[in-house]
Amino acid sequence: MQTQEESLGDVTVLTITGHLDTSSATPFESVLMEVIDRGERKVMVDCGPLEYVNSAGLKVFLLAAKKLETLDGQLVLCALSPSVLMVFEMIGFTRIMNIAASRDEGLRMFREQRAEA
């Protein structure tokens, strides 16, 4: 598992590559929490190069989504592969998380929220 951080305006994009499993869940959680703790409120995780995620990894996404919600922020996930998306569906995450097909669609999700506010 590797992550790479970028800024697109006020959105922080983390691209996650490889396998998010029991051993890499903790480092991934640290990266995400560091971003939130430093004050970022619009966080997008680009899952395009994410090949595998297990329940330990799924918990990290849930944790980050919950935390951002309490802080009036938003977590958006984009570009999930069909297998990863299937797993998100199986546990109902597609209903409670913001999941976009692409980066562009993900960025629009943040904008839409701003328009509502």
Binding site: H19, D21, T22, S23, Y52, N54, S55, A56, L58, K59, L62, L63, A65, K66, E69, T70, P82, S83, M86, V87, M90, I91, G92, R95, I96, M97
Partner: protein, 144 residues
């Protein structure tokens, strides 16, 4: 796709999970399993073996558990794929665990309980039986 099987012997140590996942993926490539089927078997075995390692020996944690072995067998027998996990941990039937509430809104969603639910959703047929001092979990899935 190539018919065949593999038997993987693991010790009850979290470091073994990565080895298991690597072997399962290599097996899937060698046998040319479709990507979705490989993902499913990889994830189901990862979740169940992780549970055995984390919870199965919890009460007896100590030096004598070092020798505990978990045996994983995968068999490609088109149109089906079968897996079996045999462990000497405490008696535990994952089919008796209630599903988590996957309809709950975000703030009410609990963090745990995803592993067994995922395994059951990924596999077509799951059976648990207790054999002497062993748990035997068999899972099967139509290859597609």
């Amino acid at each position: 796709m190539h018919e065949g099987s593999i038997t993987i012997r693991l010790s009850a140590d979290v470091a073994e999970i990565e080895r298991l996942n690597r072997i399962v993926r290599q097996f899937g490539e060698l046998h040319e399993l479709p990507g979705r089927t490989l993902y499913a078997v990889n994830l189901a075995l990862d979740e169940m073996v992780t549970n055995v390692i984390l919870y199965g020996f919890a009460e007896t944690k100590g030096e004598e558990t070092k020798g505990e072995e978990i045996v994983v067998r995968i068999e490609v027998h088109p149109p089906e794929l079968r897996c079996e996990i045999v462990d000497g941990g405490r008696e535990f039937d994952p089919m008796q665990v209630p599903s988590p509430d996957i309809q709950a809104p975000l703030r009410e969603r609990e963090l745990g309980g995803l592993g067994i639910h995922l395994m059951r959703a990924l596999m077509d047929e799951v059976t648990y039986r207790r054999e002497h001092p062993k748990n035997v979990l068999t899972m099967s899935k139509r290859i597609r």
